[in-house]
């Protein structure tokens, strides 16, 4: 069935649309959202996504904790966030409606599967009466559709069980959305064929559901308008859609290639970092070795062992895993071996909210170890930026013979955006040499510029030596308890990391170099802050945005940048961690803005906070 003619409806052109799909965690909402995202991306829109799912794999059906959502924003212009609030909410059951309605602005479109609004389902979430008919939804533009019934009718004759039929209703909803936003079904149909090629009946049922949803939009009199979001004017190049975790894995693999070191990744499964392990484990033909360790400590221990052997040793985890790895991170500090430690942050403390985002591990990775223990910290700011920052982490680790923490978060990890593929020839060679010359070799002699010690890997004749966690004598590396030596070594380790400031780009400012307000951020808050600053600037305000990629050390010009503004606002998804560092380091009266709800900032709340500060005298 191909749709060749369209019912005459009004077509409205929009710059940007934000859709949220919400349903039971078994309803396939993540898949539905992903398919819409791919279609929009391939069409040429700029996109930004926010998957939002429960930690439970299958919470009780129809319950509030079991609601899974996927928000995506697609636009004809450059966008930085998945949108503050949806324009359209697709709710597949009462639980999805109840938990998401609060974020749908009045007048927003509400597309609901009315078949799921049974008395049992209403009771489960505490609806005393059916909101679809009791008038309580009159502030919204409600489209109440018997999706399950219509979908079942469309699939009649395929001989499927009612359960199998039910599993395809998300594609009905997707088809309807494709019609409403004038999108082609082709990318999704090809995906279905590829995915279910070996099970033709399943493929056929999903395609029929998709087309039935589309046809429903076409034939029903319910919708009077469709919407058109033209392609965005993105810089020329080849693009793909990418999540932060995907970009992270790619960045490290390619950094390993450009460093000419085999990549070893030791990891223990943990949300939201596991996808990096999954993805790297498929790159065996690149010589990538992955190791699912027995625990977090073994994961980092194995990575240190691999680095000791001359490989690019990496481990990845989330906040609770960092706590377990701390002692081994310190071993890497002491023995001065390259090591990458990925922390995909999630809401803490303790187990916290494993699938929800937060930026609250900054102080942990900087200071959560015994002794003075300097480790460089870098943080990507968008899903695509994960690639560049992964590359940068490897460059620093190898050049300075040091562990480096790569601080991502759950929002970056699972969120997606279009990514313009880099030209691999433009990526710098970041390889470093092993020590091979026995003459004059000392395990703890240092490069005069970087202060890095030599990398003398086992198997090299004449360089047999011993290293370990005990304090080292300067130069010889022998065990030493000498008081002055300890002071010297502590100072040297600190100076080596502090010296990286000479080797990283200056902090860039978006906006005026002097003005009333600088909004300073780091990590995944980039999109919300940048959008807020664009809005404030469009309003004529002297507001600028600076975003730190390097959290340790800070870029050398950071103090100068901060000094250019009357006020400095630091929004963070924690209770003021960068704020503490900036105030302590630069002695300025920066103010924080923190929200720890497990979600990214809304643009509007940063705008409001900035305006409040600007109004103060």
């Amino acid at each position: 069935m191909t749709i060749t003619t369209r019912r005459p409806v009004d077509v409205q052109e929009l710059d940007r649309v934000t859709i949220r799909f919400a349903g039971d965690s078994g309803d396939g909402m993540q898949l539905t959202g992903t398919q819409f995202t791919r279609t929009a991306a391939v069409f040429g829109n700029d996109i930004s996504t926010l998957p939002d799912f429960p930690a439970e794999i299958r919470a009780p059906a129809g319950s509030l904790p079991g609601v899974s959502g996927f928000q995506l924003s697609f636009s004809s212009s450059d966008i930085h966030t998945p949108g503050d609030a949806p324009d359209v909410l697709v709710a597949m059951n009462p639980a999805a409606l109840k938990s998401n309605l609060g974020e749908l602005p009045p007048g927003g479109a509400l597309i609901v599967n009315e078949d799921a609004f049974t008395q049992t389902n209403l009771n489960k979430v505490g609806y005393a009466s059916n909101p679809l008919i009791d008038g309580s939804l009159k502030s919204w533009n409600l489209f109440s559709i018997p999706i399950s019934t219509l979908n079942t009718r469309a699939l009649e004759g395929l001989g499927l069980t009612s359960k199998q039929v039910d599993l395809t209703k998300n594609f009905f909803a997707l088809g309807l959305m494709f019609w409403l936003y004038e999108r082609s079904m082709e990318p999704t149909i090809s995906w279905i064929d590829e995915k279910f090629g070996k099970r033709p009946m399943i493929a056929e049922s999903n395609k029929r559901a998709l087309k039935a949803g589309y046809a429903f939009g076409e034939t029903t009199e319910m919708f009077h308008t469709t919407y058109r979001v033209p392609a965005a004017h993105l810089p020329a190049g080849t693009y793909r859609n990418i999540t932060g975790n995907e970009a992270t894995a790619l960045g490290f693999v390619i950094a390993g290639q450009k460093a000419d070191r085999p990549l070893f990744y030791g990891s223990y499964p943990i949300t939201p970092a596991s996808d990096i392990l999954h993805q790297l484990s498929t790159y065996k033909n690149f010589g990538v070795k992955t190791f699912q360790a027995e625990d977090e400590i073994a994961a980092i221990g194995s990575a240190i062992g691999a680095s000791y052997g001359g490989a690019l040793g990496m481990t990845g985890t989330s906040g609770p895993g960092i706590a377990l790895k701390s002692e081994a991170m310190n071993l890497a500090v002491m023995v001065e071996l390259p090591l990458i430690v990925i922390d995909v942050q999630r809401a803490g403390p303790s187990t916290g909210m494993p699938t929800k985002t937060e930026q609250a591990d900054l102080l942990q990775v900087l200071y959560g170890r015994n002794g003075d223990s300097p480790i460089p910290v870098v943080a990507p700011s968008t899903p695509a930026d994960c690639f560049e920052v992964a590359f940068e982490a490897v460059r620093l680790a190898l050049k300075y013979m040091t562990p480096v923490v790569y601080l991502s978060d759950a929002f970056l990890a699972t969120g997606a955006e279009p990514w313009r593929l880099p030209d691999v020839d433009d990526l710098p060679d970041i390889s470093v040499s092993n020590q091979t010359e026995p003459a004059g070799f000392h395990p703890y002699s240092r490069d005069p510029v970087t202060l890095a010690r030599p990398w003398a890997v086992p198997g090299t004749p004449g360089l047999e030596h011993r290293i370990g966690g005990l304090e080292k004598a300067d130069i010889s590396g022998n065990v030493s308890y000498d008081p002055d030596n300890h002071h010297r070594m502590q100072t040297l380790r600190a100076a080596k990391i502090a010296g990286i400031a000479d080797d990283i780009p200056d902090l860039q400012v978006y906006g005026p170099e002097r003005g009333d307000l600088l909004i300073l951020g780091w990590g995944s808050t980039y999109g919300s802050i940048r959008s807020a600053v664009e809005r404030l600037q469009a309003d004529g305000k002297a507001v600028a945005h600076a975003h730190l990629r390097h959290l340790n050390p800070f870029p050398k010009n950071t103090g100068d940048v901060l000094a250019g503004y009357r006020r400095v606002l630091i929004p963070e998804l924690n209770l003021g961690q960068l704020l503490l560092l900036i105030r302590a380091r630069y002695l300025i009266d920066a103010v924080g803005y923190d929200r720890v709800r497990g979600k990214p900032f809304r643009i509007a709340e940063i705008v409001a906070e900035a305006e409040r500060l600007l109004a103060e005298h």
Partner: protein, 358 residues
């Protein structure tokens, strides 16, 4: 009478490459080549001196250039050993040496990797890693010094301390039942398990030789005397006058005979082992249990018997061959390259769906 030293050669041929064996002839290394310039700092009289000496003595046997040998240790008195070996060495953190060794061996299958650990390091704080390195058959040689006490922290009960033992941390006696290192190794699927004694130098040397030639996870428990905090822990059966009557030296394929007069043996009565005397009650050598290094039931039985009910078994308890962790990892990589070709980063970047913007 000479010390009973009777370790059979490895059941299979040397797993290390013949090229390396050829290097051995050319290298002509001796014990001295493996002695580092660091001053040894264990307490005078410590059993660790003997273990170090035997380790240095057997190193030339394997034909490995010393730069291809790595000693990795955890924390405790045993952890200092790598400093005294003139090879590559890594003194890591408490209990985690097997993890570092696992990563090193995965990245560098060409190296010979030894792990030096103690009863606290291996079985308490590092218990998890010992289990998993063994089940994976990581090709590492784990030498566990068992002195049944925490020595470096000055005398607390360890996981192998006898029940009721009075120590600084257990003034009323420990209420924790001790663990059997050999049973643990067996349960963890170690492909090589052995036991020896620090003062039994020739036996220890022969055992370490077998450990070195094994391909896969090797675990050897060395009963070691801490003369400061747990002196004489094993004296009752290791003293020269009594050891032949109180220790059972195992030999693959041979009946389990012990005693000064070689007249005692181990027989199975039903499924229970018992000590019998040859020539009494019509018992002959043919009635005795024959040691088989490949039989897990014999290995388990041997891991459970101990003085004073039984003579203490020493020697190689188990030696079997199965693919090692690094062999399996390398094979998967080779297969991936054969099936998909060596990785191409341009293709990798453009993976999935791409589109062009002009």
């Amino acid at each position: 009478m000479t010390e009973p030293v009777s370790i059979a050669p490895a059941p299979e041929g040397p797993p290390l490459s013949p090229e390396n064996a050829a290097t051995l002839v050319q290298l002509q290394l001796t014990r001295k080549d493996f002695v580092s310039d660091q001053e040894v700092r264990w307490c005078p009289g410590c059993g660790d001196y003997s273990i170090l000496a035997q380790t240095q003595k057997v190193m030339p046997d394997f034909g490995f250039p010393k730069e291809n040998i790595v000693f990795i240790s955890g924390i405790g008195c045993s952890g200092r050993l790598p400093y005294y070996m003139n090879t590559y060495g890594f003194h890591t953190i408490h209990g985690r040496a097997p993890t570092i060794a696992t990563g090193l061996k995965a990245a560098r299958p060409d190296l010979m990797v030894w792990v030096i650990t103690g009863d606290g390091d291996a079985l308490s704080i590092g218990g998890n890693h010992i289990l998993h390195s063994m089940r994976r058959n990581v090709d590492i040689k784990v030498v566990m010094f068992n002195n049944r006490i925490y020595g470096l922290t000055k005398g607390q009960a360890s996981p192998t301390s006898e029940f009721g033992k009075v120590t600084k941390s257990t003034p009323a006696g420990t209420i924790d039942h001790p663990i059997s290192p050999l049973s643990v190794a067996l349960a963890a699927e170690a492909s090589f398990i052995a036991r020896s004694v620090d003062t039994h130098t020739e036996h220890l040397q022969a055992t370490l030789n077998r450990v070195g030639w094994h391909h896969g996870s090797a675990f050897v428990e060395v009963l070691q005397n801490c003369n400061i905090f747990n002196d004489g822990a094993y004296r009752e059966f290791t003293d020269r006058e009594v050891r032949e009557d109180r220790m059972l030296v195992l030999e693959h394929g041979k009946p389990m005979i012990f005693g000064k007069d070689r007249d005692k043996g181990i027989r199975l009565n039903g499924h229970q082992p018992e000590v019998v005397t040859i020539g009494e009650n019509g018992i002959s050598e043919a009635d005795l249990l024959v040691h088989d290094e490949a039989d897990p039931l014999i290995a388990f039985m041997l891991s459970r018997i101990f003085w004073p009910e039984f003579p203490v078994p020493v020697g190689v308890i188990r030696d079997v061959r199965r693919p090692t962790h690094d062999e399996l990892m390398t094979a998967q990589i080779d297969t991936a390259v054969a099936q998909r070709g060596a990785g191409d980063i341009r293709r990798l970047l453009a993976g999935g769906e791409t589109w062009s913007v002009e």
